[in-house]
Amino acid sequence: MKRSLLLITLMLVSVSAMFCQSKLTIMDKSPMDVCYYPCNFPILKIQDKVTEPLAARIVYSRPQKNGRMVFGELVEYGEIWRLGANEATEIELFKDATVEGSKLKKGRYTMYAVPFEEKWTIIFNKETDIWGAFHYDQTKDVLRVEITPEKLEEPAEAFTMMFEKITGGANLVIAWDDVVANIVFNF
């Protein structure tokens, strides 16, 4: 048994070495990703399946849970949280929208949150092309909305932002670890 455990460990090490080997050039630990509303807009576009114009795009980076306790520890309650990694998360609205009942004009914004266990404040700020929330400037806020997070049964390994179609608009779903939150957008 000891011997097979050792073999398995060796296997694991060699498998991970295989993966590392292919990464000579520096890649981000928390890779960037993008989401759209309508969902998968670029794919719909090349398939000629677009039925409504592009309303929103989010460019964000995706940290991994990686065995860590996220909310209340890695992401501290009551502190500004960058909703991503690396470059500040950017949302672009291609038309005016209503976010949780408040108007938000078309344009580009950075997004942040102040999470608590029972509620999150979501922030839209006009200082774009900046890194993280380390230099967050509240005077450049455009809108703050409050939402209620919920629990997830299966934890999400990678920090995820995605739009989900609902009647008259979209939910922006934000999921990480065992928490999910929705922001309602009407376009």
């Binding site: 011997r3 097979s4 073999l7 398995i8 296997m11 498998v15 292919s22 990464k23 000579l24 050039t25 890649m27 981000d28 890779p31 960037m32 990703d33 993008v34 759209y36 807009f41 670029p42 794919i43 576009k45 090349i46 592009l54 795009r57 460019v59 995706r62 991994q64 470059e87 500040a88 092309d129 900046i130 890194w131 993280g132 380390f134 230099h135 919920e150 629990k151 997830l152 049964e153 299966e154 934890p155 999400a156 390994e157 990678a158 995820t160 995605m162 989900e164 779903v173 999921a175 999910v180």
Partner: protein
Amino acid sequence: MLTANKGLIFYLLAMLVTLYSCKSKETGASVQSIQRIPASHPKNEEMTVSGVDKSPMDMSYYPVDYPVLKMTGKTTEPPIARLIYSRPFKDGRAIFGGLIKYGSHWRLGANEASEIEFFVPVKITGKIIKKGRYIIYCIPYEDKWTIILNGDLFTWGLKINASKDIYSFEIPVNKVQHVYEALTMEFEKTAEGMQLTIAWDNSQAALPIMF
């Protein structure tokens, strides 16, 4: 020993299944189903979140590392350009003349078409480029590349609509000693302005940009 071998084979199979079973066709990303806890949500609905892309997205700015400079209060000039692209891996394949055929459209990336944005008008190989956003792609040949800026924004890189081409430039391409495992595109400062360096496998080219 036999038991140990069986155990290993089973373990390896399980690894392989985990690694390859749930890749989405388009992005190669793994997907994970997550379920909201019913008590706190009206519907016991399941949604699928995508895992991290096989060819992850990245971003490059000029001035180099502009967001970090901005955060630390060290900017000395306004932002000139920003590039958003995805980074495929060589992964043991011959890239130029192999995976990418000479004379064909190459998306300079993966997944979404690569997007370049100029925050000010710039000059490339003598042509004046209006400020704004473009998708950028390439037609590679053995000794030169044609780089094209196209107005068909927010599209997937596999299908280029050449009728929306706006500018094109020819640049030389060089073989280099270093093998770039991941497609790498970066703005770099030069004596005359800057350049967009494009490197993958053992090929490297530079698009000179004046502003």
